[in-house]
């Protein structure tokens, strides 16, 4: 187990290292002098010179890379070219918004997706199965942003039961916050619920026809225990794996959802930064995304190992 976690940590560090190199080189692949790129289009020569000093942009590339890593590790991502605020402060303000949205969406996806998947598998070939499977296919085929637009059209424009957009911090107005977050979370969660439902259903069908489930039935256990303990426990590894694999899509989905609902989160920051060529922000945003992604994947791997005694006890690879 320890060996397994260490190996996963090792490969996470490797990914982070390679990503930082890619990002570092990416900024330098831009046409023009990196210092003026980082300073923004309307920067004065003095400002450009200050940035060149701060980030050591006159040194050779390897030394620049070391400087860059050093600055990053101390939380210095430079200043936004739009408003000259430190990028680190902007991130600290935007990240919690996106985290809340993602967690709520994840909650929707797990409750709806896993629940519907179990029901569909248990009621295979019955009405409930067709409903869930149909919902799964539809959820898979409908793009987030269209679902978002339809949601706004129905709930905000036609029925006027929810606000169309905007954001209030949870700490200021919890009810208002949830009222504004519920539609985005549903929209973002639907696609994942569909994927989770399909995977849970297929994993549960496999588990329900497994010999060990027949053994569980032969013990005289209740159907709730046979399904809920014996079959579900073996399907959970699939669910966790799918959650890990879909993380990238969740990040992409959050970006789009924030754009539609005008939520001032990390995703909206990303899009705005690209559209205004705000390179210090782009650089930080990409790096933070990769770090978050790698960290959560690491957690998923560890959860996976905990669920699967074969890995937990032997430290073997899951491939």
């Amino acid at each position: 187990m320890l060996w397994f976690i260490l190996r996963r940590c090792g490969s996470a560090v490797l990914v982070l290292f390679l990503s930082s190199v890619l990002i570092f080189l990416g900024i330098r692949a831009l046409p023009g002098d990196p210092a003026s790129v980082m300073a923004g289009q309307e920067a004065s020569p003095a400002a450009i010179e200050a940035i060149r000093k701060e980030f050591g942009l006159d040194k050779p590339l390897p030394a620049q890379y070391l400087d860059y890593v050093g600055q990053t590790l101390t939380g210095n991502f430079g200043r936004s070219t739009q408003d000259q605020l430190p990028v680190a402060d902007i991130l600290a303000e935007r990240l919690p918004v996106t985290l809340e949205l993602s967690l709520l969406a994840m909650l929707v996806a797990i409750v709806v997706g896993v629940g519907a998947g179990i029901v569909a598998a248990v009621r295979r070939g019955k009405f409930a199965d067709y409903v869930a499977t149909g919902f799964g296919l539809a959820g898979l085929s409908v793009p987030h942003f269209w679902l978002g637009l339809l949601g706004i059209l129905l709930f905000a424009v036609t029925w006027r039961v929810l606000p169309a957009s905007g954001y209030v911090p949870f700490t200021e107005d919890p009810a208002g916050n949830l009222q504004r977050m519920i539609l985005p979370a549903l929209v973002l969660g639907t696609g994942f619920a569909a994927i989770l439902m399909r995977q849970t259903r297929s994993a549960m069908l496999g588990a329900l026809s497994a010999d060990y489930v027949r053994t569980a039935r032969s013990k005289g256990l209740s159907e709730a225990k046979v399904v809920g303990a014996h079959a579900l426990r073996n399907s959970l590894t699939t669910v966790v794996t799918v959650l890990g694999l879909q993380l990238g899509a969740l990040i992409s989905g959050a970006v789009v959802t924030e754009q539609i609902f005008v939520i001032p989160g990390f995703g909206k920051l990303t899009v705005d930064a690209v559209l205004t060529r705000n390179y210090p922000v782009i650089q930080a945003v990409v790096l933070v995304t990769v770090i978050g992604y790698v960290l959560v994947n690491l957690l998923v791997d560890i959860a996976y190992a905990f669920l699967n005694p074969r890995i937990r006890l032997s430290g073997g690879s899951r491939d």
Binding site: S11, L14, V15, L18, S19, L22, I23, G26, A29, L30, L137, A138, L140, S141, V142, P143, H144, F145, W146, L147, L149, L150, I152, L153, V157, L205, G206, S209, L247, G248, A249, I251, S252, V255, V256, Q259, I260, T270, V271, V274, L275, R277, Y279, I282, V285, V286, T289, V290, Y293, V294, N297
Partner: protein, 263 residues
Amino acid sequence: MPMAGLVLVVAFVLLALIGPLVTGDPAAQDYLATLAPPSGAHPMGTDDLGRDAFARIAHGAQVSLQAGVLSTLLAMVVGIPIGLVAGFYRRWLDPIVMRLVDVTLAFPFLVFAVGLAAIIGPSLKGVVLALGFSQLPAIIRITRGEVLAVREMDYVAAAIADGAGDGHIIFRYVLPNCASPLIVQATVAIPAAIIGESTLSFLGLGVQPPTPSWGVMLTTAQQYLSDAPWLAIWPGLMIALATLGFNLLGDGLRDVLDPRSHR
């Protein structure tokens, strides 16, 4: 169900290939009929500049099809040789390639797209590159897996023992075996690319106006949601139907072509 999928896919391809020929100019503006609801002259209505939504839908289908097919082709052209080489030269290249594949998998698709858009500017080219790159790991893994599986087969082992060259093995045994899983993979990748293209274009990171793309159309629609809701309905419905078609077709093909998915 797979037949319904095939019908949707064929309809989508026909719309992309023939639609632009029969509909009018997607850029023609009619200032007397802006944001007009669907009518005989404009079956899907018009947008804020009085452009015919149906013409733009048809041309948008072409963009979607390009993004889907080109990115998948790109991923295959680059990925299949890498997978073959990794599978054949297990000792040296394989560990390196597979590590790189892991790293690629660690990048969320949107991060690529954002990075590319930042470097080369938002365009269809950037979208295709980003989509193709994000599909690479799957293609490499499938091809490499088939190489490893095929090499284990008795008749291939016999051919290798008889001194058959790597080229012979690749073209005679490996590639024919890769065909089925790669076709199935394409039915997964193409709809993902269609959604990916429209998402990026919607965000302004992909195809740029005035080029008609379903994503771009939805960006416009968002601004006029309460005045012209039909503008939001059509492009989204098209994306959903095209994607649904590929998904249904893919489910059907998987049952036929991929014996491993059978329970």
